[in-house]
């Protein structure tokens, strides 16, 4: 009885089950019967049971109890049982199971069996699930089969050898001589297996290349026209493809080999019929080979032209693979691929998601300084209509391209804003700080930027990155917005109430994330120094959040409230209104400024740095990287350096806020030390948006010389963030030492007020 009849009855029973539950019941009953029958020692229908079990396994039910039965069946002398046993071994066993070791001996015996089909079963199973130990044990057997037997077994043995070499690299040397002999075979199946084996050997061990070189010439001469292997008019395309792949590996960094292949490749490329799919497969492989080896330029041009033809083909498959190959060479033959840019960009509009993905990657690779504007237009329109899984890739690609090739700042900002409005939810976290940095650096466009962002915010408050940037901008440049004049575009007349309305909407919207709310709250607070009429409204908004559930917001609100209460008198000091503030959003931003250390976003470093001669730097308290969330305002001060708190004066020890350093716009000088004819004057100059230069000039008005003049200056390290328009009283201590008229003088002086930085 063939093993299939009871299997078919079971299948019928399973199919007639009307519900999943019924099916499970049927299968469980069958499994129980099978298990009981496995336990019986001898049994007529063993192969049927195993076949049934394998079917059940395919449907997804557990079948591990069949593993030992597989081992037993493999050892049986009957072919039908062996067949099912080996099939079961391939499906149920793997290297991790102990049972797999038990079949090693059976496989060894079967490999030596006189019946070729039994041998083939053993070879097949070994190739599918042979573990490293099994491979090592059985490798000599396989080698013997490679040389001795008929072609049916040879081809199977060749592929088995490939598996062995993949598992155990060292055994490659064992198979190399046999592999070379196989290349002289006439049977295409054997040739195919041989080429695969040699490919594998070459990939592992490049030295064996040279010996193979002569062989492949003969091999190709032999694989002439063979009607048996004809697929739609092309002689054995599978074998041709394999050989071409092997040629690719041989020629890969090898001048001599590449030269030898040139004629052959040209011949194949021109003679293959490209109207059928099989012809295209061979051509495709030829093109890949030409592009990968050191071929001559004429051949490369031919290859790229073939790819160009593929791109215009109606069959989407061909277009897809053309784009894959172009992707591979876009780095090396950039200009050649640029010629096809138009077609590639058209493929962005194709309906097929796979083609779109390939076209996107290729388009991003083809962006260059000369075509940035037109490419960006295409990419932006693609972004608005692309499938969701490609959105974040498109957005980040656009950002990178814009950063590299932006023709103007305004264009850059426009592009980023466009992306944020279209696909704001899919951009990466660093986008917000990067954009803020970019905006800060283009000071001439502040007005334009804030107007544009206000409009965008007015339309839509759901895209979080956009809302965050817009809030920050409004907080920072709100006065420009309210002034209502803008050179670059039509300004919109905005009242203070409108602005506050928008910010309040963001604060209250359920779509806003906590970090966005933080941005909005801080912006509201910043506006309190820039607007004149609605300060009370701001105060009430801020105080509401004093009892917010979110700890972060609550903390900020409470601190801001404290500012309202205690420091209201400082609000309208003239120096404040006119100044912009440094922005340090990323903790990697470094301030190049006299005496100021890099800012740490996080806890303020209030430390005793009067240890000028001691020199040991207090350890920096590093905070975790903040990324896109707004920097934290901190409640409590550091513990060390209580006297420095006095130095900083005027601020409560329990509520040291994060501060900003204001940038000076004038350069007045003030004398800080004047004694015995030696004077030191100090002047401050704004060097750049982020830099402040303090110049100390020392002069000697005595008659005698001064030697060994040393000047040391120290300032407190403060935490800098973008969230505030407050300033700290910056102090500096100077230690001056010199030798004059034989006596050493040392003096320490403290500079409390800097010109331009008010109290």
């Amino acid at each position: 009885m063939s093993p299939s009849v009871p299997l078919q009855e079971m299948i019928r029973a399973i199919r007639s089950a009307r519900t999943q539950c019924e099916e499970r019941g049927v299968i469980q009953r069958e499994c129980a019967t099978i298990r009981a029958q496995f336990r019986q020692a001898d049994n007529e229908g063993r192969s049927h049971n195993l076949a049934k079990l394998l079917y059940v396994h395919m449907l997804g039910y557990p079948a591990h109890f069949g593993q030992m039965e597989c081992v037993r069946m493999i050892a049986s002398p009957r072919y039908s049982e062996k067949r099912v046993g080996y099939l079961g071994a391939m499906m149920l066993l793997d290297e991790k199971q102990d049972a797999s070791l038990l079949i090693t001996n059976s496989i060894k015996n079967d490999l030596a069996n006189s019946n070729q089909y039994v041998q083939s079963l053993a070879l097949c199973t070994l190739a599918c699930m042979g573990s490293a130990e099994m491979c090592r044990d059985l490798a000599p057997e396989i080698n013997r089969l490679l040389r001795a037997s008929n072609s049916y077994i040879k081809k199977k043995a060749a592929l088995c050898a490939v598996h062995i070499v993949r598992k155990v690299q060292d055994l490659g040397e064992l198979f190399a001589p046999s592999a070379r002999c196989l290349l002289t075979e006439k049977n295409h199946g054997v040739l195919h297996g041989a080429v695969v084996l040699i490919t594998e050997l070459c990939e592992c061990n490049p030295e064996s290349l040279e010996l193979v070189l002569i062989r492949w010439c003969q091999c190709l001469v032999i694989s002439g026209y063979s009607p048996d292997h004809d697929v739609a008019g092309i002689s054995d395309p599978f074998l041709q493809v394999r050989i071409l792949r092997l040629l690719r590996i041989l020629g890969h960094n090898n001048e001599a080999a590449s030269d030898a292949m040139n004629d052959l490749l040209a011949q194949v490329a021109t003679n293959t019929d490209s109207t059928k799919t099989v012809g295209n497969a061979v051509l495709y492989e030829t093109v890949l080979t030409v592009l990968d080896i050191k071929s001559e330029s004429g051949l490369r041009v031919l290859a790229v032209n073939i790819l160009g033809r593929f791109l215009l083909n109606n069959d989407r498959n061909i277009r897809y693979i053309a784009m894959i190959s172009l992707q591979k060479i876009v780095g090396t033959d950039h200009n050649a691929v640029q010629r096809h840019r138009g077609t590639i960009v058209d493929c962005l509009k194709d309906q097929d998601a796979s083609v779109k993905r390939r076209a996107l990657e290729l388009s991003l690779a083809l962006v260059s300084a000369s075509n940035i504007r037109s490419m960006m237009k295409e990419l932006l329109s693609f972004l608005s209509s692309c499938p969701p899984e490609l959105r974040s890739q498109t957005a980040s690609g656009i950002f990178i391209a814009a950063e590299r090739y932006a023709p103007s700042q305004r264009w850059h900002i426009d592009t980023i804003l466009h992306v944020l409005t279209t696909a704001g939810g899919d951009v990466r976290d660093e986008t917000v700080p990067n954009l803020i940095q970019l905006i800060t650096n283009t000071s001439e466009l502040h007005c334009y930027t804030v107007h544009k962002l206000y409009r965008a915010l007015h339309n839509d408050i759901s895209q979080q990155p956009l809302v965050q940037v817009a809030c920050w901008c409004i907080g920072e440049y709100g006065d420009l917005l309210l002034r209502g004049e803008c050179q670059e575009m039509e300004p919109v007349q905005v009242t203070e109430d409108d602005v506050l309305d928008v910010l309040e909407a963001v604060l209250q919207s359920h779509m806003s994330s906590p970090s966005t709310r933080g941005f909005a709250l801080t912006a509201t607070m910043k506006l309190s120094t820039r607007i004149t009429e609605n300060v009370d409204r701001i105060r009430s908004i801020v105080s509401i959040y004093g009892s917010c559930i979110d700890v972060e917001l609550q903390q900020r609100a409470v601190e801001y409230n404290a500012l309202f209460k205690k420091y209201d008198h400082m609000r309208y000091s003239t120096e404040w209104l006119g100044q912009r503030f440094l922005v340090f959003v990323c903790s990697t931003f470094v301030v190049q400024s006299a005496g100021l250390s890099p800012p740490i976003c996080g806890f303020p470093q209030v430390c005793d740095l009067l240890d000028l001669l001691g020199g040991s730097e207090p350890p920096l308290q590093s905070s975790p990287a903040l990324g896109s969330t707004a920097p934290l305002p901190v409640g409590t001060a550091g513990t060390a350096g209580g006297d420095l708190l006095d130095l900083l004066g005027g601020l409560e020890p329990t509520a040291i806020m994060t501060v900003l350093l204001s940038v000076f716009s004038v350069a007045p000088t003030v004398s800080v030390y004047d004694k015995d004819g030696v004077t030191v004057t100090l002047s401050c100059e704004k060097q750049s948006d982020s830099g402040l230069s303090i110049t100390l000039t020392a002069s000697n008005s005595t008659d005698s010389d001064i030697r060994g003049f040393t000047l040391q200056a120290a300032v407190p390290k403060v935490c800098i963030s973008s969230s505030f328009s407050f300033q700290v009283n910056l102090k500096m201590r100077l230690r001056i030492s010199y030798t004059s008229q034989g006596s050493a003088v040392q003096d320490t002086v403290q500079v409390d007020s800097f010109p331009g930085l008010g109290h």
Binding site: M1, S2, P3, S4, V5, L7, Q8, I11, R15, Y55, H57, M58, L59, G60, Y61, R78, Y79, S80, R83, V84, L87, E95, N115, Y117, C124, A127, C128, M129, K155, K156, L159, C160, V162, H163, H188, G189, H192, G193, V196, D228, H229, V231, D236, P237, F238, T277, A281, Y284, E285, R316, N317, R319, Y320, I321, I324, Q351, D352, A353, S354, R357
Partner: protein
């Protein structure tokens, strides 16, 4: 290397699943479900290549599939295989099945899963393409089946006789035989008990 070969129908029920790398059973089922999910969303006239799902292994793997009537044939391959070549291989596979089963349909695959496995074993071995010549494959498969049948031998004879009789198509005995003008009535024969 071919990582897996899956055949499932339009509703996602697996008809054949062959994995050339080991996964546990739950993962295998998950792979089948995910592959079905990806492949069933595709239109008829789009290309046959899909970037693979996450489960079966990341960026190097692609799904190459063909849709025939109610069945999807999906090969999951890595970058060392030629995509167009695999597409041709699927075609050869289906043609071989057609030859072996005489106008193959889904039911054939359902009830003869083991035969399909045997045919597949002659074409793909250990994740590598073994033989692509249809006639060669069929010759080998037939020889193996013959061997199996001959091995069943005497023990199988009664069962074979039973199935032969079941399948015999006896025509109905005619009640009236008309030979030209003469009309002979055949008497009712007594029935045997």
């Amino acid at each position: 290397m071919i990582k897996a070969i899956l055949i499932f129908n339009n509703h996602g029920k697996p008809r054949l699943s062959k994995f050339y790398e080991h996964y546990n059973e739950d993962t295998e089922q998950q792979i089948i479900r995910e592959t079905f999910h990806l492949v069933s969303k595709r239109d008829e006239n789009v290309c046959n290549f899909l970037e693979g799902g996450m489960l079966i292994g990341g960026s190097d793997y692609k799904l190459i599939y063909r849709h025939y009537a109610t069945l999807y044939f999906v090969f999951c391959v890595d970058s060392s295989e030629s995509e167009l070549g695999i597409l041709d291989l699927i075609q050869v596979f289906v043609e071989t099945l057609d030859k072996c089963f005489e106008n193959v349909c889904e039911l054939d695959l359902i009830f003869h899963v083991d035969k399909v496995h045997n045919i597949l074993a002659e074409m793909v071995m250990g994740g590598m393409v073994l033989e692509t010549n249809m006639n060669e494959i069929i010759t080998q498969v037939d020889a193996q089946n013959k061997m199996e049948k001959s091995e069943a031998g005497i023990a199988g004879a009664p069962a074979r006789a039973v199935s032969a009789v079941k399948n015999m198509n006896l025509p109905e005995m005619p009640r009236n035989i008309n030979i030209g003008d003469i009309s002979i009535k055949v008497p009712n024969l007594p029935s045997f008990k």
